[in-house]
Subunit: 277 residues, 2 copies
């Protein structure tokens, strides 16, 4: 690499800040997590760190000390002093002249932000509209990687239709999950969601939602739903770290049940919040 141009400016290669050569930008070669706190207490920290370690391992980024990640995260969280905080962090494989083939000597880059969790109580009270989008993501959605362009395109398309989330549908017509959330249907006395495969993220909030479901007497069914099944469900829900459990009251152009959040949305949210105190 001889010269670099950033915007309109030519820079000799040796003067370029390594951040511009981050493999995160060139390839999305990194993995991330989002963790939140409730009233000053971080929720499910170890579960998230374990998944982060799994993601790193799945793409072969070695040499990241998870204890150091935990220490950094806690230090930043303390420094921010936000009671209901969202902590985002990613590790990329490192900075180097662009080459798809990676080598073991690369030094991973760590980046973290702390911000206030957006208040979504209105969505939880009134429910949200969602719209479906083809699931264009790669075949390893079990890895929480920085390759998120399919999610960006789906989320942006949903937002343009005034929908709060995009629900992704695979080529077989089955719902995988939301672009940034797990997806559930209450059908009779069952709580149904897609099974854990390489096509979806092993969502931690999904696990807690299923636990909440069991606690309120629902039978858990881990089986993918079609769009038609979803549209006819008694209740639909999405769940994510930063939103908890949110009822879905419109699914594409279909009103879900009577168009109001159902009883299980409330019961599940109450149960879920009991895990966080």
């Amino acid at each position: 690499m001889q010269i670099v141009m950033i915007g309109d400016k030519i820079v000799p290669a040796e003067d370029v800040d390594p951040v511009y050569l981050d493999r995160g930008t060139f390839f999305g070669d990194g993995v991330y997590e989002v963790i939140r706190s409730y009233d000053g207490r971080i929720f499910a920290l170890e579960e998230h760190l374990q998944r982060f370690a799994n993601s790193l391992s799945a793409i072969g980024i070695a040499g990241v000390d998870i204890d150091q990640v935990r220490r950094r995260l806690l230090r930043a969280f303390d420094a921010a002093g936000i009671a209901d905080a969202k902590v985002y962090f990613h590790v990329t494989r490192g900075s180097a002249p662009r080459d798809r083939v990676c080598t073991a000597d690369m030094q991973p880059n760590f980046f973290l932000t702390v911000s206030k969790v957006a208040d979504n109580s209105e969505n939880r009270t009134n429910g949200i509209a969602v719209s479906t989008h083809p699931d264009w993501r790669w075949k390893r959605c079990d890895i929480k990687s920085l390759n998120l362009l399919a999610n960006v395109l789906a989320s942006t398309a949903a937002a343009k239709k005034s929908c709060a989330e995009a629900i992704l549908v695979d080529e077989a017509g089955l719902i995988t999950e939301g672009a940034g959330s797990a997806f559930f249907a209450v059908r009779g006395q069952t709580l149904q969601t897609a099974p854990l495969t390489a096509n979806i993220l092993p969502s931690i909030t999904r696990e807690f939602t299923l636990k909440a479901g069991r606690n309120v007497g629902l039978e858990i069914v881990e089986e993918s739903l079609t769009k038609e099944q979803a549209a006819r469900a008694d209740e639909l829900l999405i769940a994510s770290t930063t939103q908890d459990i949110v009822p879905v009251v419109r699914f594409d152009d279909k009103v879900v049940a009577d168009g109001k959040p159902g009883k299980y949305a409330k019961l599940l949210n109450r149960e879920f919040r009991s895990f966080t105190v």
Copy 2:
């Protein structure tokens, strides 16, 4: 976003260089091109700029002036003064606090490097070994996006087996293309390659290779190959901007034909190079 941590260092959000908030890193939300010159002349510039415009449009990045991109590229190329240069550039949607949903007011970031094309004459003379890998990429490989982790993993796995390229195989057992190249088989008097669909990049070198094929009397067949068909072909080839046409002499554990580059590899390369002068 209140605070940011970069490595071990906490930085107030307002002091963070926007490069750290590049949507290219958060989401791979950008597109790229690689163009080369032969002996001081840039090859197929307009074709690459047209594809770049198509990629930008496909992911909804508006407001990038292709004439400005061309001017920047030519200025950097001139400044580098490299006769056989590789010019890489990408545009990301811009820098902003992380949110999947993008908005129209984002200011795209432009980044470009110029370097010397690696000499691959040995590979072109002796041929290369390739290994197959599941095609884990997303469903819009027709867009030349920064979501390249599947390519990184496949290329790195191939390199670990001392192979120069990974050949991607979809779930139906059909070869799509190389992790960084188009893939061809010579079978009798035909030159066969996968058809242009959303599963492969509309490779510009692919087009010139097919043109070369016609010129040397081969019939073009745009039909996907199975691994077994590839292993039994008379000749296998990969082609990319920075490598031209390279014969493949080993395909996984199978020796291709007599293990030496075939006659069409030479004929096609000669024809291809005639386009570049």
